[in-house]
Amino acid sequence: MSENLTEMRASESPEQSRWSMVGKDPWTMPIEKIDLSHPGIWHTNEFLPFLERLRKEDPVHFCAESAVGPYWSVTKYSDIMEVDTSPHIYSSEPTVGIIDSYEEFTLPMFIAMDPPKHDDQRRIAQPVVAPANLKRLESIIRERVCNILDGLPVNEEFDWVKHVSVELTTQMLATLFDFPFEDRYKLTFWSDAATAIPGAGVVNSNEERWAAMEECLQVFTGLWNERVNAEPSSDLVSMLAHGEATRNMPPMEYLGNIILLIVGGNDTTRNSISGGVLALNENPAEYDKLRANHGIIPNMVSEIIRWQTPLAYMRRTALVDAELGGKQIKAGDKVVMWYASGNRDEEAIDRANEFLIDREKARQHLSFGFGLHRCMGNRLAEMQLRILWEEIMQRFHKVEVVGEPQRVYSSFVKGYTHLPVRLHPLN
């Protein structure tokens, strides 16, 4: 989502070494200097002990100075729940990213709106990802999963991220929007462009980014015009075009909703697909449990999503003065809920630091958030992962990780850019 962009900007400045915590000792550095917002420790996979220290010693922690300004870090499950379920105190406006949005690049999206506007807009978009609708998509999703898996090379190294995680989520998005299938790579491009840092590969400047957004709007306006004159159908564009509250949506709001759905469902699912393979390789006893019982897959999917926590945090802004975990939060303060930490909180989750695919209450994790903004696509994400693992287990004894994974440079999107694997077929 659009926060990477600012993180990168901050970190690519000459300030980089000043703010990065890479290589520092999490247990002895001055606690007030701990700054989780810098992408460094997320990129190098060093973040866990920093989270643990904050949970133990200062669960509602104030970082006074950082590349993104002052902010609170909330690291315990119960405190995160409190923030997430108090939208009248902790607002999602103006943005849920750690950086205040750039004037030149803000799109209205309901993820960053408070009630009642949030509720009205969400109600319109929601049916497309409701289970009743997903049920109808299941067979086409399974067909696409099978095609992808059957096309993979066996017994040779390839990149799981590129050939499975990205490919599958892209196809899924195209299905959801009923987007012309052969043009589906545009969806990933727009998603990446919306969140990219100018100059880092995807787009070279803000102008280029806006050009991509304009193209996106143009193509989706075309789809809108096509569908508004046709019978209502179950794809998302048709639902927006026919919906009472969205029919007269201004173009920028339409674009915002489209981008929210593309971005929301893109990196998150992609990184859960990669993260599951890695977790099973790092925990061979769990992989054995899975081989012995495929019925465990739905439970495992929840555990993978907890373990991965594809979005490390969501940010709120205090509307009024409030007390949280004994600390005084002031109106206007940034409050960051570190889901990646709450999901490892031993006080809330039994054996929280172990990956256990058969754990009880596996669904009780923070990865989708809670409250009014709870992830709208959660059932879709779970369904994709369930189908994928069902089909993987029909084909392969093991998806073996054969090299070092490379992680995304972001404290927000927690995921992988590269995961080398080798497939071992079932006999």
Partner: protein
Amino acid sequence: MAKIRFIEHTGEEHEVEAQAGGSVMLAALTNGVPGIDADCGGACSCATCHVYVQEDWLDKVGEISPTEEAMLSLSTDRQDNSRLSCQIEITDELDGLVVTTPEFQF
């Protein structure tokens, strides 16, 4: 003690005995009644413990709080007799309560 009858969308029924003080959601979970996920563990913040309360019981299951109303109002399967079962506290008066679980929790 109260007897509670859960009816799945398929029509299959489960009758459980529940202690006063707990919630209808907990009664389902501790007795292995399917159809209720309760992802937030009873914090009124996930809406995956959604049930339909049989009409005769609607005035006995207590008021809907503003938080519950907010969560319910986002549900795609909302009906007039919708409730979040973690927000219904069991009392002896609820002996005989009948609720239906939806096909999907979302």
